[in-house]
Each structure stands twice: as structure tokens, then as C-alpha cells.
């Protein structure tokens, strides 16, 4: 059934509590936004009531603040520093372990991830998962852990009604309202008249559950209120970039002087890559216990801003911050199209909020756009470089 032909329901908080309990009974691990350390974080939760309630946020370049507000609902903010990649491609996971010694060892592979439910997934993060699918599932090699984590995944999406000042999802095809890639989507409505959710169930499991709840069908008025809140969200987000043009622009401006300018501010701290919902770079780590007969190989997140990321014996390919920032931004906004057929950015604004010095990817792009160098010359430049030796 097409999305617009499906019936929409009006769900109460109690309905959602019921759904939470039912999914727990079915053995799902549940993950959702909770308040911790002054931010809205994504964590495993054991009850629906652990979800954030009553927070509004303020985000700006390099800043993030939460305020408690009696009228605020469960999902009326945008995104915190974490994204769901944390659960689909964990920051650290054991690839395998080996026991023995170099003269004789055996390899064993750890268990697969549990089946999970994600609560409160915004469309930017759904888009990010779709992008990670291309990276991890649709290439020549599959990230088997990610694949297993996705197999039984349930996504409970929310229409994003309160985008932050740093959000720019409307610059991409997506925007704040999920249109696919979820099992259940909710638009939260909290006003003088009450607190409820306009719900669209997509997967069979959720449709059956919706039937059983005997929840009310949404009226025309209900639907109109829901779509108005989303339209307001869209109106609050100015278009900040044109992804197709950005991709072309960056290809011909690899030697632009602005890279040096960004480098004078960038700390090469890697925050932007860690908070980005699509950044996927990783490294491996070998840990051997003191007896020397047990060793583990771990996969951990890595970042193109990290010193030895590009190391090959003799030195780093990208020793300068200039070259690292350029690698990051051209990957996100340009090379990603060549590699995976889409943008590597979904406009979630996290990298802008969590950059300690407030570097804004859209502004850096605009600076290059205002003063482009133009197509790189087809130079066979030999520069001043001398070919001194063979090895």
C-alpha cells in the first residue's frame, strides 16, 4: 500500500508505553534518546519512561544547550551528539580472537548483535542509515556485523518538528519528515488540547500492533495539524547548499587558498567525524594478553583528522590540517557521489554544533563558491620537485 493511502492513527503516550513493553517481551533491545551529561544521548533503555521528556534545545556554531520546559514533549528538539551508527557500526567491536601462538593458532568469531529497536529516529538519521547501507551492504564486501544488526531492526521514526539553527536537511532531497525506511513514524503533537502522536505504521509487525491497540483513526484536522508542524519546520530551515553543485565545485578547487584559511582555525580534533552519522572510517587494533597466547583483533572508529590515519612508512600522506580538512569535506560533499552515488552529508548539523571552534561546513563551502579557482589546469607540472632516487 502506498504511504498516502495508509490509515494514520492517533496514539497516546500509553499506547507507546504498551508498544515498548511488547517489544521488550519479544526480546528486542531498545535504544532511544535520554538525557545524560547535559545532552540528549542515544542509549539502551529498559522502559519507555527513560526517554527524554520536557526538553527544548538551543544549538549554534560550536554550542549546544538544553532547557527544561513543562510544555515540551518527547521529541521536540533535533539531534544530539550521537547518531544511530553507534549501534549499527559500534565505536569498538571485536572482529575475532585467536588462541595459541604464531606456530599454531585458531580463530574464533564473537556473537552477532541482538535484535534492536531504535526510538525517535529523525529523517536525517534514516537518510544516514540508507547511506551506510550503500557503504556497508551494497559494495563488493559486506560489513557482516552491520548486516546482522540491520536484519531485525525496527525503526520508530519521528517527524522533526523543532529543527536546530544548524540543521539543513532541506538542502538535500530528504527534509524533516520520514517518507520511507521506518516501521512506525510519529509526529508528536503537544498543545493546550493534549499530547498525542499521529502515527503511520509501515511494517506488518507494527500494523498488527496498531490494529490491536484499537487506536482512533486520525481525522482530517489531526492530519492537518501534523503536516502544519512539519511545514513550519521546513520554513525554519534555510537552504544552505546545493549538493550537486558543491560536488562539482570541490573537484576543481582542491588547491584553493581557503583550505589554508580553514586550517588556521581547525584543531584537527576529529569531533566532526565522530558526530557525523555517515562517517565510517575505522582502524584495527590487536590486543594480546600478558601470557601472549590470547589475542584479539578489534575494529574501532577512526578519523581522517587523526595523525597516523594516512601513515605509510616514511611519513604521513596528509601531515597538514589543510589536507585533512580538505579530505574530510571533499569526501562528504564530493567524492561520496563517485563512491556511493549519493551525498555523504545529510544536513544534520552535528559537525557544526560539536566543532569546538564553530567551523561550519556550509560556510566553508560558500567561501570557496564565492571565489572559485576554476577547473584545475591540465598540468603536467614538474614543479621544483627533483627526482633524486629510486627507493
Amino acid at each position: 500500500m502506498r504511504s498516502k493511502d495508509r490509515p494514520r492513527y492517533v496514539l497516546t503516550v500509553d499506547h507507546l508505553r504498551g508498544l515498548f513493553d511488547e517489544l521488550s517481551d519479544q526480546g528486542y533491545e531498545q535504544v532511544g534518546p535520554i538525557f545524560r551529561d547535559g545532552a540528549i544521548m542515544l542509549e539502551k533503555i529498559n522502559s519507555f519512561d527513560e526517554l527524554t521528556l520536557g526538553y527544548l534545545e538551543q544549538q549554534d556554531k560550536g554550542s549546544y544547550n538544553l532547557d527544561q520546559h513543562p510544555d515540551a514533549g518527547y521529541f521536540q528538539y533535533s539531534v544530539g551528539p550521537q547518531s544511530f551508527k553507534k549501534f549499527l557500526n559500534p565505536p569498538r567491536r571485536k572482529l575475532w580472537e585467536a588462541n595459541g601462538s604464531s606456530s599454531n593458532f585458531e580463530i574464533t568469531v564473537p556473537e552477532r548483535p541482538a535484535k534492536m529497536v531504535f526510538w525517535g529516529v529523525r529523517n536525517c538519521d534514516i537518510e544516514a542509515i540508507r547511506i551506510l547501507d550503500k557503504v556497508f551492504l551494497e559494495g563488493a564486501y559486506v560489513n557482516d556485523w552491520y548486516q546482522a544488526a540491520k536484519e531485525d531492526l525496527l525503526i520508530i521514526a519521528v517527524g522533526c518538528t523543532h529543527p536546530s539553527k544548524n540543521c539543513f536537511c532541506t538542502s538535500f532531497d530528504s527534509g524533516p519528515m520520514p517518507y520511507e525506511g521506518y516501521d512506525l513514524s510519529l509526529v508528536e503533537v503537544k498543545d493546550g488540547a493534549g499530547h498525542h502522536f499521529i502515527a503511520d505504521g509501515k511494517s506488518d509487525l507494527i500494523k498488527h500492533w496498531l490494529n490491536d491497540t484499537e487506536a482512533q483513526l486520525a481525522s482530517k484536522d489531526d492530519l492537518e495539524i501534523a503536516s502544519r508542524t512539519i511545514e513550519e519546520a521546513i520554513d525554519n530551515m534555510p537552504i544552505r547548499l546545493n549538493p550537486k553543485e558543491a560536488s562539482e565545485l570541490l573537484k576543481t578547487n582542491l588547491e584553493h587558498s581557503h583550505w589554508e584559511q580553514v586550517a588556521s582555525r581547525c584543531l584537527s580534533c576529529a569531533n566532526c567525524t565522530l558526530v557525523c552519522p555517515t562517517c565510517f572510517c575505522s582502524t584495527t587494533e590487536d590486543i594480546t594478553d600478558i601470557s601472549g597466547d590470547h589475542t584479539e583483533r578489534w575494529l574501532t572508529w577512526d578519523s581522517c583528522f587523526v595523525g597516523d590515519f594516512s601513515y605509510i612508512h616514511g611519513g604521513q600522506i596528509r601531515p597538514s590540517t589543510r589536507s585533512r580538512y580538505r579530505q574530510w569535506m571533499t569526501h562528504k560533499l564530493s567524492n561520496w557521489y563517485d563512491q556511493f552515488g549519493s551525498s555523504g552529508c545529510v544536513g544534520c548539523g552535528r559537525c557544526i554544533t560539536w566543532c569546538p571552534v564553530g567551523i561550519d561546513i556550509t560556510e566553508e563551502l560558500a567561501a570557496i563558491n564565492d571565489n572559485p579557482v576554476g577547473p584545475a589546469k591540465d598540468k603536467k607540472s614538474r614543479g621544483n620537485e627533483k627526482h633524486k632516487g629510486s627507493t
Binding site: 582542491l254 577512526d302 627526482h387 629510486s390
Partner: protein, 276 residues
């Protein structure tokens, strides 16, 4: 193994031969029934040393006796040193084969110009072997090899036989020599004057340090070889070799899966951009 591309297949070191002070050639045979798919010239494997780590190493010879693998490893750091120190009988984890091949089997009746710097000769040796096995399919065959010092020369037995083989023109040069050295001294690109080929019918493969390859490419192009007949093998940090770790990117390409062997036409826009 269990379908995960991160899991190595175990191989046993069945023989080791010393090439020079810090380079060894290994033959590896599978420990159990499982073996990696046959490897082709230009491809590489990830070799794992127990408890230490894993590094990309090219295939340096292709034996008819599949599944035996041949790799030449230079001691430059942690993992390579551990691998080199393993005695015969010890076990190495192998993942692969990765990357495209040198397009040697696809070019018939062409003149061939191979330019190798230092350990860059290792990935090209299977090409030389292939050509010698199918000599009638090729025109003039030239191998130009440059290395730092006579002490760094590898594959001595092969080199002696290539030098005495009238069907290939093997030239060698060193950057610095000792007084008794009677051969060429200087950069490998200068040897191109000693190569015999019809530029419009020549294919060239280069492998070595990036700066050597850049100058080698200019020399090929200056000699009249067409751009799309030039191939090179890129070296980048690699943690996974399956396009999922991000370390090996050069512009839009992943060196591990789009390369390491690239047509020059793919690399051309990026080779002169510093720190890319």
C-alpha cells in the same frame, strides 16, 4: 570463514629465502582445506602476524602449484619485522586476493615497458614471469629496475637469468654504487633511453615510490607512449583492504579496491596535488 571478509585463512610458512639484508621471500601453504582464491599479477593479500597486526603485501610470484602463495616482505616496521622473523612452519593469516590485476593477459602483441623502483620489483615479477611463459604473445619486452645501492638488489637469480635472456631487455641502475660497480648509476627514468619499443604500440607498468612513478610516467609520455597505456601501482595505508576503513582514499578512489593497480588516466587528476 563464516562469510566475514575480516577473517583470515591460516597459511603455514613452508619456505623462506633471503633476498637482501632486510627482505625475505616466503612461500605459504594453507594449514587446512580452506585456501584463498587464485591470485593474479598486481593483486595483494593482507598478511597477519599473530598478535601483532596485518599489512598489505603483493603477490611476488605465481607458482603453478596453487594454492601455494609467494610474497616478498621488506622489514620496515612492526608487522613486517614480525612476519620476517617467523620460522618455517609458523602460521600467517591471509585475506585476499584484493585489487585488479596488471592487464598483462589482455594485451596481445604489444611492446612492454616495466619500470620498477626498489621493492616495486616484487609486484612486477609475476608480470615478467607471465611474459616469459607467453613470450610469443608480446613484442619487445623491457624491464628497467632502479634501486638505492647494489646491496639492495633483490631476486639475484632471476636477474641473472633475465640479463642473459636475449628475449627481454633487463636494465638495472643504482642511486649510489661502490667503486667496483660497473653498471648504471642514476635514476631509473634515465634507463628509458636504453629501452627498445614502438611508443604507439607499447604498454607500460610502473611500480615504486610515488615520486619515481611520477617521473617515470612523464618519461613514458615524453617517449610517445599513449596515456591510456600507462598503469601504476599506488601505495596507501590500508587497514581493511575491502573498502570499508577509508584509509587508502586518493580523491574518489579506494586504493584497495579500485587499485592498487590503476590506469594512469584514473590517477592523473590527483597525482600532482600535494598531500591528497
Amino acid at each position: 570463514m563464516n562469510g566475514s571478509p575480516w577473517n583470515p585463512v591460516l597459511y603455514k610458512v613452508s619456505s623462506k629465502s633471503i633476498e637482501n639484508a632486510d627482505l625475505l621471500t616466503f612461500e605459504l601453504d594453507p594449514v587446512g582445506d580452506e585456501a584463498i582464491d587464485p591470485i593474479a599479477p598486481g593483486q595483494f593479500n593482507m598478511l597477519y602476524a599473530f598478535g601483532i597486526g596485518e599489512i598489505p603485501i603483493s603477490v611476488s610470484s605465481i607458482l603453478p602449484s596453487y594454492p601455494t602463495l609467494v610474497h616478498t616482505i621488506q622489514d620496515v616496521g612492526r608487522v613486517s619485522k614480525s612476519l620476517i622473523q617467523l620460522p618455517v612452519g609458523d602460521i600467517i593469516g591471509v585475506r585476499g586476493p584484493f585489487g585488479p590485476e596488471w592487464p598483462v593477459a589482455q594485451v596481445k602483441s604489444k611492446d612492454v615497458l616495466l619500470i620498477a623502483g626498489g621493492v616495486g620489483l616484487c609486484p612486477l615479477r609475476p608480470v615478467i614471469e607471465y611474459i616469459l611463459d607467453h613470450r610469443e604473445q608480446f613484442g619487445e619486452v623491457n624491464v628497467l629496475f632502479g634501486t638505492r645501492h647494489p646491496d639492495n638488489i633483490i631476486y639475484h637469480r632471476d636477474i641473472i637469468s633475465w640479463q642473459s635472456d636475449p628475449s627481454i631487455n633487463f636494465q638495472i641502475t643504482v642511486d649510489h654504487a661502490f667503486p667496483s660497480w660497473r653498471g648504471n648509476v642514476g635514476v631509473v627514468t634515465h634507463l628509458i633511453d636504453k629501452a627498445k619499443f614502438y611508443p604507439e604500440n607499447t604498454i607500460s607498468f610502473l611500480c615504486g615510490p610515488e615520486v619515481m612513478m611520477r617521473f617515470g610516467i612523464y618519461a613514458c609520455l615524453d617517449a610517445g607512449i599513449s596515456e591510456d597505456m600507462v598503469y601504476l601501482s599506488m601505495e596507501r595505508n590500508m587497514k581493511c583492504a575491502i573498502g570499508l576503513c577509508g584509509h587508502c582514499q586518493v580523491g574518489p578512489y579506494f586504493t584497495c579496491k579500485d587499485g592498487a593497480v590503476f590506469p594512469y588516466t584514473m590517477m592523473k587528476p590527483y597525482l600532482n596535488i600535494s598531500e591528497l
